[in-house]
Subunit: 491 residues, 2 copies
């Protein structure tokens, strides 16, 4: 049988962009075999010969041959030389660069599971783009005390490096869980202890974990309509049947004739996207209905830190005595998105199961970020930051109200008492045309109507304002003012 | 109807540990209604009267009443006073502290879904305890260059704060994906570009995402036996049927008579827990079988950074031309556990679906940690750190071999060429007794036999050594030397 040509190995070495000489020679030898350019039984050049031809030291070639022997590509026989030891069974023509085709049947290509397919079909979740007028959902990161955060992080990494770098409690750092429980009790009327808090990377992870542990295929989940897309995606990706609840002035409507719910998802403090708070009577009615039907109530309190004209209504969780409410909160907006910290407050019966599920999902949250968040809260910086942000965002909310009033009178604010975005109603049938015109003027105007499902869609926008200066808000509103109420450009 | 007694409100205020006066009065008023101690229609004391009785300013009382009116607990009628506005329908005796019972039927208590129950029954995943002899699985965090890491982090947080604090690419920071692709190409023979890399928080998250997207209930997953518990947990939690593959000298055995696999899970570079490398012939056979049957091959390359006596065998992924291999790697051991960074290298067909699934699961990985990891790799610190750790761990591996030889001759090392732990075989039937004795001597000896399922269990231990000094290793081995081969304490 022939001997492998040194120039083949040289050519293959040259295709290896990186690595030392020995590594590149090893890679070339593997590639020669893998691609079928060197076949079972074929002899390799002697190390002396190859070293000469390739301008390498003989030690390098010997080392590469030894390595390839260890890996099973070659066998070396004393006095006889080195030979290709593996039958790649290639059907590719020899001495070409054609791709390897192992002999034997090639069956159906593997694909996604039915479950995976369903997940992909939801389209996934989409996080906000970088702030510009009027992208929705971003806090103002310029206003975050990054210097202070860095200092706290440095201090923690100096003091507790070994402990914070190690694996952590899958339920979350106890100090942070304590701080969260205190904060929620004081500011949100949540009745809980630190043992009920589960720290997660995002409220999306909370929704996903709840889907995985509380829902089976076909279970009915009652959803606000319009409502939060991330929740819809998580629940429908997991095979639940979504049952829409249209809204009235008191919040999501309760209709006992709907299919019995396994879960009811609510944003009672500040309905997403309309901004309304759910009435106390309606809250009590939902709790009573959840009791009667044995449903879980999920309270997503995603941005009640940012209410400007009144104290936020205490959490629905505080009204529940039978342990059927799961409360979700996040630091993505109250600190910053990449802190990757959110939390659930769990009824006692769910603590063990959800912590177990979390260990299967992704182990535990980042320890250093948790430690710094706990310090930030314990030292009063969190409360101070929220106070400041409420003032800042309130003035921007006011600027947006004023600018809309002056320049875009055909856009009618719905409830503007809080949040980082404002839902505005447009003249019926005009959303698409107005959005197209706005895009032409360089202004993003996230759709309101797309968040409606069974309920008749309201033409409108969700205008993000929290990360914009009053000037930027005014300029963008002026630009929108060049569009007519029906989406004509007026110049 | 009666007027609510100020002393009830005072008592309830005193149960509020925290908050200002107004907040505590608000909480007391809510609690009076919630608990049924104040019922629909009942009159509140006048604000003047209550202010006097409670020693508060009238402004405070007025503000609390206004807040409670906003929330729907009270209504205020000019000239008439303030009244409880909500019917809690309580069945609890009035004027007691008994818990609230909303009227109406209480149905079945909600529970976990069947899926959630299955997840809980796996028992979840367990991360290593803090290092001590011979807890398995922890790298040595003392040896990590924490000062350097802190500097890199500070620099990044100073330079790119706004960008790194914002939402990130759900696939992972491009700079880190580039660095991972380069590293894997050079060091592991993985053939990929940065677009195939998906950055995750842990290899556990990789396993869970693969379960969710590639497996349906009842799908057969071929597993090494003995094998990695975290993978078994993820796959069985998702409803897959596990099919055990006993090992022989070449690695996991391939038996075409087994139920056709939807997925084959392998640790070919360094089998967990035995430490063997899979032969090239066996690798090719698995690839051919995956092609013939349309199965996914999952290559978990969990610790091939730490092989001490030879270069690691290149990844199986590099032999695959049809895109059926998913490669998993982690920084938990090569950097530190709490960095919360791991990655998959995906075949082209899976990139879109897996990134979509990830957005539904938890959005995106932490940006600052990714940026620092990229810097650490790009500036050569990663390669240097791995070199140093290999030397350090090799000397500890040698110390363990020596100490076992001297003090515990009845514990026979299996394959000790790499890793952070060493599997040792014990005399048949002695594991339980020896482990009990070892625990009595304060030495942890993680079980080997518990990782066997269908295959006959081998009595043994997995002795963690990487985070222990040679002295600690020797002392613990001496302690074990006081046990006889059959688990008797010899004193």
């Amino acid at each position: 049988m022939a001997t492998i040509k040194p120039r083949l190995l040289l050519a293959l070495m040259e295709t290896q962009a990186t690595g030392g000489r020995r590594a590149r020679l090893c890679a070339a030898l593997r590639e020669a075999v893998r691609s079928g350019q060197a076949v079972l039984g074929e002899r390799l050049p002697s190390s002396r010969h190859l070293a000469q031809d390739l301008g390498l030291s003989r030690v390098t070639v010997e080392a590469a041959y030894a390595q390839l022997e260890t890996e099973g590509y070659l066998r070396r026989q004393v006095g006889q030389g080195s030979f290709v030891a593996i039958d790649m069974n290639t059907t590719a023509p020899r001495k070409t660069d054609g791709p390897l085709r192992l002999a034997g049947a090639v069956g159906a290509r593997p694909g996604l599971s039915a479950r995976g397919q369903r997940m992909v079909e939801t389209g996934g979740c989409h996080e906000p783009e970088r702030p510009r007028a009027f992208v929705a959902g971003s806090p103002d990161l310029q206003a975050f005390p990054t210097g202070l955060w860095r200092q706290l992080l440095q201090r923690r990494l100096r003091q507790d490096a070994a402990s914070l770098m190690f694996y952590g409690d899958p339920q979350g750092l106890p100090a942070l869980r304590e701080a969260i429980a205190r904060y929620l009790g004081l500011s949100r009327g949540v009745r809980c202890h630190a043992g009920q808090v589960l720290v997660l990377t995002s409220s999306q992870q909370a929704l996903q974990l709840l889907s995985a542990t509380l829902l089976d295929d076909g279970d009915a989940v009652w959803m606000e309509d319009p409502g939060y897309a991330g929740a819809r995606t998580a629940f429908s990706a997991s095979g639940a049947r979504l049952v829409d609840m249209p809204l009235d002035d008191e919040g999501a409507t309760l209709d006992a004739a709907r299919p019995a719910p396994r879960m009811i998802y609510l944003t009672p403090s500040h309905q997403f996207p309309t901004g309304r708070a759910m009435s106390l009577a309606r809250r009590l009615a939902f709790i009573a209905h959840a009791r009667a039907t044995g449903a879980w109530l999920i309270e997503d309190d995603y941005d009640s830190e940012f209410l400007y004209d009144h104290q936020p209504t205490p959490a629905l969780q505080g009204l529940d005595d039978l342990g059927q409410v799961v409360y979700i909160g996040t630091f993505s907006k109250s600190l910053f998105p990449s802190v990757r910290l959110a939390y659930m407050v769990l009824p006692e019966a769910l603590i063990g199961p959800l912590v177990t599920a979390r260990t299967i999902y992704d182990g535990h949250p980042s320890q250093p970020m948790q430690a710094v968040a706990a310090d930030f809260m314990d030292q009063g910086h969190f409360a101070a930051h929220l106070r400041l942000m409420r003032q800042l965002y309130r003035s921007r909310r006011d600027a947006l109200l004023q600018a809309l009033h002056s320049h875009v009178p055909w856009a009618t604010p719905m409830d503007s008492r809080g949040g980082l975005q404002m839902a505005v109603r447009l003249p019926e049938g005009s959303e698409q045309a107005c959005t197209r015109q706005a895009a032409g003027l360089g202004v993003a105007t996230p759709s309101l109507s797309e968040l409606y499902h069974t309920a008749p869609a309201v033409a409108g926008w969700r205008l993000g304002f929290a990360a914009l200066t009053p000037d930027a808000i005014d300029a963008a509103a002026r630009a929108l003012g060049r569009i007519s109420a029906h989406g004509q450009y007026r110049g």
